[in-house]
């Protein structure tokens, strides 16, 4: 080797310290030099395995070098070095101290059989100065690198908190995907090896594994996890994040090789779940979570708890709203809520159907606009707003969206909030159009009384009967059979329809219930299903009016060249069995019993234009003078003759 410039060239060819040292070792080796660098690990990174750590720790720099910065090894030094058993040093080898901030941290050893002590000393000192500068630079770079790494880690932590916040804000349900994503952020931010999230199963009270990273989930899912012992019990008690080094909770701690951190997911200060992160990683291997990690972890899980609470609250509100909507949708009563500003803020499906509204259009609109044309309704709403009193209106007429009139039973009520302040009005109404339609159709077939009774009481449609006092009227056309034989059938039907219409109008006027039409005979009941003050008087008045009406009918028939009719009427009052008689598919509301038969017999005995009544009827009449007692009649099934009274038209 000629001069130092060769050494310098070797060093300058390489950039990294490791490469410089390796190249230098190779260069000296080629030139038959023994070169060794002894240095403390605090100066060089442990990645450079070039120094003998044991040796450098043992060496006493003062003893070897004294006040000098270099040393040519003599016999005494050899003995000392051999005691330390570090390296096979040679006599006349040169050692140059390397300083780090004025403190000796190692030395260079250089030996060659072929070179002079001076040259060795010269090279050694050059290298010592060179490495002194390099070490300073390396140290500064390392320090800067570590600081940068720390800053980068802090940035990652901040980013993770941002990311978790964004993640929580973007989800509105407790989906397992959300928890899995959260866990990814937690585990990477904390440098944890593994982590799990457990959530309480409200029904069973045990905790379910919701998300995991690096854990044997199959095994964990088989275990019953409760908060009565171990980590969850500690969290339930402390309600804050914990570092757990030793625990008796075998199930949850068995994944931990060093230590773990556990943090509670709280809702209303009650434990609803937990996040556990296991085994912090470091470049050197597994390390322990410390209080800085705990602070970060706690911060993150508090955010999750808050979000969890909000999600639970939202779920509960959604559930309640859904439940109310379901109830409101299933009831037939129309509901419209108008807020304090007069804007419609709720309408159920029955209300939209009645008015023909489109829900989306009317919500948020003022009732003045929505109920345009329904001036009476608007004024009633205004009245409720002002007087703050409930208003009831039966058979109230409204106009739907197509201006079609509808009948409703309406209630308008003021609404008050928890402070008893008025917060609007609510309209509730029953649509009567359906009921009215049924009534009008039904009334063509049966008496209005029966229709009302059936609509009022659905039990009245059941088969069966009860005994009660009823007045029964029979009216029969005299000689109709022979009359009809002489007429065309269509004319017979025409005459009969006109006759029945005249009679039934009268019957209904006097609260009679048309029981049935048997051929040309009418059977009418008074007192069922609705009892009047004097059903017998109603029946008699009805019969007299029937005969009067028959006079008008006959005039009409006469004008049309059709035969006139003559009827006889029989009326009896007494106990009968009333109810629905027949089968489930076909039933008739009627009455049966002896007293019904007697009414029919009285009808048979009456002459044309005559009303024949029994004693029980006669006794209940307010004015009896018009009736004359007739000779008692014998009736089939009765041993004694029956007293009867009559009146002639």
């Amino acid at each position: 080797m000629s001069d130092l410039s060769e050494v310098y060239n070797v060093l300058n060819k390489k950039k990294s310290l490791r490469a410089k040292i390796l190249s230098l070792s190779f260069f000296f080796n080629q030139n038959n030099y023994v070169f060794k660098l002894f240095c403390s690990s605090t100066v060089f990174s442990q990645r450079f395995e070039i120094q003998d750590q044991t040796f450098i720790k043992k060496i006493n720099f003062n003893k070897v070098f004294g006040e000098e910065t270099f040393k040519i090894i003599d016999t005494k030094d050899l003995l000392y070095f051999n005691e330390l058993d570090g390296f096979d040093f040679q006599k006349n080898g040169v050692c140059s101290i390397m300083y780090f901030f004025k403190k000796p941290v190692g030395f260079l050893y250089l030996f060659s059989k072929n070179e002079s002590e001076d040259k060795l000393l010269n090279i050694s000192q050059f290298l010592s100065y060179y490495f002194d500068g390099i070490i300073r630079q390396f140290h500064m770079e390392s320090k800067l690198k570590n600081k940068t790494l720390t800053l980068q880690n802090k940035l990652l932590e901040i980013e993770s908190i941002f990311n978790i916040t964004e993640l929580l804000n973007s989800h509105n349900s407790n989906s397992s995907d959300l928890y899995q994503d959260i866990l990814f952020y937690i585990i990477s931010t904390l440098n944890a090896s593994k982590a799990i999230i457990l959530l309480k199963n409200i029904k069973s009270g045990s905790y379910d594994l919701i998300a995991s990273v690096g854990v044997n989930t199959e095994e964990l899912n088989k275990k019953m996890i409760r908060d009565t012992k171990g980590i969850l019990s500690d969290l339930k008690e402390s309600k804050s994040s914990l570092i757990i080094n030793n625990t008796d909770d075998y199930i949850l701690s068995k994944f931990s090789e060093s230590n773990c951190m556990a943090s509670p997911i709280l809702s209303q200060k009650t434990l609803h779940g937990a996040i556990i992160a296991y085994d912090k990683e470091s470049r050197q291997g597994s390390s322990m979570f410390d209080n800085f990690d705990l602070r970060l972890f706690d911060n993150i899980t508090k955010k999750i708890s808050l979000s969890f609470d909000n999600i639970l609250l939202l779920d509960s509100l959604t559930e309640s709203k859904k439940s109310i909507d379901n109830i409101m949708s299933s009831i037939s009563t129309g509901i419209i809520k108008i807020d304090i500003l007069g804007e419609i803020d709720y309408i159920n499906s029955s209300a939209t159907k009645v008015f023909g509204f489109d829900k989306d259009i009317i919500i948020g609109n003022h009732y003045f606009i929505i109920f345009e044309g329904n001036d009476r309704l608007i004024s009633l709403i205004e009245k409720t707003e002002i007087e703050k009193k409930i208003i009831f209106e039966n058979n109230f007429e409204i106009l739907d969206l197509n201006k079609k009139p509808l009948q409703i039973n309406l209630t308008i009520s003021p609404v008050f909030d928890e402070n008893n302040d008025n917060s609007g009005v609510v309209l509730s109404f029953e649509d009567l159009s359906g009921i009215n339609k049924v009534k009008s159709t039904f009334k063509k077939y049966v008496s209005e009384n029966i229709v009302d009774e059936l609509l009022k009481n659905e039990n009245s449609l059941e088969l069966g009967g009860k005994e009660e006092d009823v007045c029964v009227l029979f009216a029969d056309i005299r000689g109709f059979t022979s009359l009809s034989e002489k007429m065309d059938p269509p004319k017979v039907v025409y005459v009969l329809n006109n006759y029945f219409q005249s009679m039934i109008d009268v019957i209904f006027k006097y609260s009679g219930t048309l029981d049935k039409i048997i051929g040309d005979e009418l059977m009418v009941l008074y007192g069922v299903p609705i009892r009047a003050e004097n059903d017998c008087q109603n029946a008699v008045d009805s019969a007299i009016a029937m005969l009067d009406s028959l006079g008008d009918f006959n005039k009409k028939m006469n004008n049309e060249g059709l035969p006139q009719l003559n009827i006889g009427i029989g009326i009896n009052f007494g106990k009968v069995v009333s109810g629905n008689i027949g089968s489930r598919q076909q039933m008739n509301y009627t009455v049966i019993g002896d007293n019904v038969n007697l009414a029919a017999r009285l009808c048979s005995s009456a002459k044309g234009g005559e009303i024949s009544i029994s004693k029980s009827v006669y006794e209940k009449l307010n004015i009896k003078d018009a009736f004359t007692k007739r000779a008692p009649i014998m009736v089939k099934g009765k041993e004694k003759p029956i007293d009867n009274w009559s009146i002639q038209n």
Binding site: K15, S16, A19, F184, S188, V213
Partner: protein
């Protein structure tokens, strides 16, 4: 959970594909494999992280060491199919400053071959 799925050579490029958590263990595995290939003379590496959806700072710092070691032999490392969370971490840790990133392995092979 974390492992090297596949190592293959294509057009002078060593492609290392991984799955799972890019933490210390997986980072060291990648470092070991890359060192083996460097010793055999390879210098260009592509890390396909399509099956890895999470990384920690230890894993990232080991990848930095891999980059440093490759730079000593004038080699380079590129990444493909990075999950957003990994890309963000690599950006913060400064890895992407020294390495090219590609959205797919096909794109990387076309650009690097």
């Amino acid at each position: 959970m974390s492992k090297i799925l596949n190592v293959e050579e294509a057009n002078g490029l060593v492609i290392i594909s991984t799955s799972g958590y890019l933490n210390k263990d997986l980072g060291e595995e990648i470092q070991k494999v890359s060192t083996e290939y460097v010793d055999k003379g390879s210098t260009s590496f592509l890390l396909n992280l399509s099956q890895s959806n999470i990384v920690n700072s230890i894993g990232a710092s080991i990848i930095i060491e891999v980059i440093e070691n490759l730079q000593e032999v004038d080699g380079d490392l590129a990444f493909c199919e990075l999950a957003p969370i990994i890309e963000k971490t690599f950006n913060i840790m400064g890895l992407t400053k020294y390495c090219k990133t590609f959205s797919s392995q096909k794109e990387a092979l076309e650009a690097l071959s």
